[in-house]
């Protein structure tokens, strides 16, 4: 079974966020990075499939050169090789362009299963996996919290998390794409031996032009206008007087604000 798992490197969840000077993004100099949480679960799910069915696990990451830390961690935990989409053209992509780029790199591998996390902890679009499935013409299931495979590995049975405590079990034939929800398993630690071994595993670094993508094709359809911290605007004003006066004052106030 050939399994690709998409892993994004994101700021650590408990980092203190500071907005950069031109308010276009967070100040990355004060951040440390880690694998996106649901992606780490997706990797564990991929490694378990490989343990059951044999084959190989390929990590695919789109990100700056220092995302190599997260890639190495994936290799240390047991992935066999990695594809690193690394190029200045890949900076600040939206979900469509990210999916397009990843699809261009992963498609030719013709994997049996592609895993992504449910959504990234930084931008939180939750679209990359689903869009990629459409682009690669694959069936997909999102928000998966349990996964079973048939003996021959040709059919997946997955449990999806719906609203209000409802779940859905569905079966689908491979090749397929599955977006994984955090908590589906207990991710393993990288062992010391694994870390040593990871150094020798191949990482294939690809640029946009390697993938036949030009800057135009990747132009984001949306951009961050400005970033700011939520401002606390709640105000409490006490209306004084007896019930009648207060009621009249309240009505006047609501009218004045255009509420009624």
């Amino acid at each position: 079974m050939k399994i690709v798992v998409c892993i994004k490197q994101v700021p650590r969840r408990d980092d203190l966020l500071r907005i950069n000077a031109d308010k276009s993004w967070i100040d990355e100099s004060s951040l440390s990075f880690e694998a996106n949480e649901s992606d780490a679960y997706a990797l564990e799910e991929a490694l378990r499939l490989k343990e059951k069915h044999g084959g190989e696990v390929i990590v695919a990451t789109l990100g700056p050169s220092d995302a190599s830390k997260t890639i190495k961690e994936g290799l240390a935990k047991g992935a066999d090789r990695a594809i690193h989409l690394c190029d200045s053209t890949f900076e600040k992509l939206d979900a469509v362009a990210t999916a397009k780029s990843l699809a261009a790199a992963i498609g030719p591998e013709a994997p049996d299963v592609i895993f992504t996390g449910l959504q990234s902890d930084d931008l939180g679009y939750g679209q990359t996996g689903v869009l990629m499935a459409e682009m690669l013409d694959l069936p997909h299931a999102s928000i998966v919290i349990a996964l079973e495979t048939s003996e021959d590995g040709k059919t997946l049975r997955v449990k999806r998390e719906l609203e209000n405590g409802w779940f859905q079990w569905i079966s689908m034939a491979t090749p397929a794409l599955v977006t994984i929800q955090s908590g589906i398993n207990k991710p393993r630690y990288a062992s010391l031996k694994g870390i040593m071994g990871a150094k020798k595993k191949p990482v294939d670094v690809r640029t946009a032009s390697d993938l036949g993508l030009n800057a135009d094709a990747l132009t984001p359809r949306e951009a961050i206008g400005s970033l700011y911290l939520p401002v606390r605007e709640k105000q409490t004003e006490m209306l004084e007087g007896d019930a009648e006066t207060v009621a009249a004052a309240l009505v006047a106030r609501l009218r004045g604000n255009g509420v009624i």
């Binding site: 408990d14 630690y189 870390i195």
Partner: protein, 556 residues
């Protein structure tokens, strides 16, 4: 848990702790081996590993810091060209004496505190810069792997066992249990910083401190502030004495200006106080209320917090630095100059001397205690020894209070350390007085400062800014041998000082009456080691938690 087969991984040399001492040592050793092999030597590949308990190299790196570049320049003469992230060369440099409301600038900076030619640096940044340079030279660095215990063959150290991962709070293996591994090594180098876990174990087992004085420590509590304007130029360095400490408390303040309008501000408080009520974090908060300091911080924002112990004992507290198959470097070996509050340069130099001794041992293929003695001799013959000898009585002189300390140190400076001769020193935990002895009563409330959340912060807020986190589902890493003492004897005698001396609100007495007990909020721990040092009964053992836990320092 059933006994398990542990994996053994052979290395040649394992450094414990990725601080400046270990990283300098590992890099120097890699360089020596490379030079040797390329000039016809036949050592071949030497596998060097550095293990670090933090989530990444630098995550547990906390210092001032004003760096004397002497050590780094020997390791890497072109450190500036190679992009060493210094914040700024030291510019304006002054020492102040603070009273509750005023400050007096010393007309001349006393030579030991003169910092010209030095650099303001952030240790966490410096280490993050050094790590990839070490890796390029072939050193294997493993963050998230604490050294749990030493491996022995008789009395010869033959390796390090790393901590288990994936154990739940009841001590049972979880689904993702990953047992620690045995890293076998010809030589293990302990660069664990102050009060190292393995260093403590080795020192006790091999009696390494039988000829040395006890170690005494201070605690540095520190915040980084982002200032609203350029009121202080990068490279500005202020040291303070006096307020908020009473005359009998050892310590002083520091303000070092970094780039990007970021100010290091910290207070060092001796952990050998007589007063059982002392709270170093609270003292630091009071420090900031001094009008001069509050003015400097006005309009600024606190962005980061941390705390770490400092070994102040100096020369006479240096233990034997070697034993069969093992060497001790940096703060773990008491190689810090307490008078100058500087240990980065000596730590790096000691790491390099260890590398040289190990290189000789590799060539001779002899790792016995006699072969390791080479390192102790090298330290003795180096500028580390000379520098520490001159200030050998620095801390001792303060045991009788600040004035006595200043006078004695003045004499010592003027006579280049010839006078006084050896002064006595006592481990901090033996000096702490009971409430009755110190206050004459047990019902005492020393502090009355209310934290305002702008200039002054409670411990919980500060800890949040240290990034400290631990997986909650693991055994508590603070082992209190006997918690029954907490409820009666300690309450009565010392008033549960752990609630105050810990700068991270880890220890809390909760409940009342018969339900009163000690609660340990271990997830807050910033790994400063104060509890292990200062607990008057010496029943708290700090042990490394699961790898990756602890503070997450970026610019400390």
């Amino acid at each position: 848990m059933p006994p398990l087969e542990r994996e053994e991984l052979p290395f040649d040399v394992v450094f414990v702790g990725a601080g400046p001492a270990s990283l300098a040592g590992a890099l120097h050793l890699a360089n020596l081996v490379k030079l040797h092999n390329s000039s016809g030597g036949n050592l071949g590949e030497i596998e060097i590993a550095v293990i670090e308990k933090g989530a990444e190299v630098g995550a547990h790196g906390l210092s001032g810091a004003v760096m004397d570049p002497k050590g780094l320049a020997e390791l890497m003469p072109d450190f500036l060209e190679r992009g060493c992230p210094v914040e700024a060369p030291v510019g304006k440099d002054a020492v102040m004496y603070l009273t509750g409301s005023a400050k007096f600038t010393l007309p001349i900076t006393p030579p030991p505190l003169d910092n010209h030619g030095y650099y303001v640096v952030s240790l966490s940044k410096l280490l993050r810069w050094m790590a990839p340079i070490c890796e390029e030279a072939g050193v294997n660095i493993f963050p998230e792997f604490p050294g749990q215990s030493l491996l022995y063959d008789g009395d010869q150290v033959v390796g390090v066992r790393t901590g288990d991962k994936g154990i739940d709070k009841h001590g049972q293996p979880k689904e993702n249990f990953e047992p620690g591994v045995d890293l076998l090594a010809k030589v293990v180098v302990l660069g664990e910083g102050p009060r190292g876990t393995l260093t403590k174990e080795l020192t006790a087992r091999m009696n390494l401190d039988r000829r040395s004085d006890p170690q005494v420590y201070a605690l540095g509590v520190k915040e980084i502030w982002e200032l609203p304007d350029d009121r202080l130029e990068a490279g500005t360095v202020f040291h303070t004495l006096g307020f908020p400490h009473s005359g009998e408390v050892f310590g002083g303040g520091f303000l070092y200006m970094m780039k990007d309008r970021l100010l290091d501000i910290g207070l060092v408080t001796g952990l050998d106080c007589l007063d059982p009520q002392i709270d170093p974090h609270h003292e630091f908060q009071r420090f900031k209320t001094h009008p001069w300091i509050a003015g400097l911080l006005d309009g600024g924002k606190m962005i980061s917090y941390g705390a770490k112990a400092i070994p102040e004992g100096g020369y006479y507290s240096i233990p034997r630095l070697h034993s069969g198959g093992v060497l001790i470097v940096g703060d773990s070996g008491s190689l810090l100059n307490g008078q100058r509050l500087k240990g980065l340069h000596t730590a790096m130099k000691s790491g390099m001397l260890a590398a040289e001794a190990i290189f000789d041992a590799l060539v001779a293929d002899d790792y016995s205690s006699d072969a390791m003695l080479r390192y102790s001799q090298k330290v003795k013959a180096s500028w580390i020894d000379k520098e520490l000898y001159e200030v050998r009585n620095f801390h001792q002189a303060f045991e009788k209070g600040r004035m006595a300390g200043l006078v004695t140190n003045g004499i010592s400076f003027m006579t280049k350390g010839i006078f006084p001769k050896r002064l006595p020193i006592h481990a901090g935990h033996t000096r702490m007085r009971t409430l009755k002895e110190y206050y004459g009563k047990t019902d005492v409330q020393k502090y009355d400062l209310k934290f305002d959340g702008k200039l002054t912060f409670d411990k919980v807020t500060d800890v949040y800014h240290s990034g400290a986190a631990h997986d909650e589902d693991q055994p508590c890493h603070l082992k209190v041998v006997d918690t029954s003492i907490c409820v009666d004897r300690c309450t009565e005698e010392f008033g549960n000082p752990c609630e105050r001396f810990c700068p991270a609100a880890v220890y809390e007495m909760v409940g009342s009456g018969g339900d009163r007990r000690l609660q340990i909020n271990f997830s807050n721990c910033v790994h400063c080691k104060t509890c292990d040092i200062m607990d008057p009964y010496q029943i708290i053992n700090w042990t490394p938690p699961e790898g990756g836990g602890g503070p997450n320092y970026k610019r400390m």
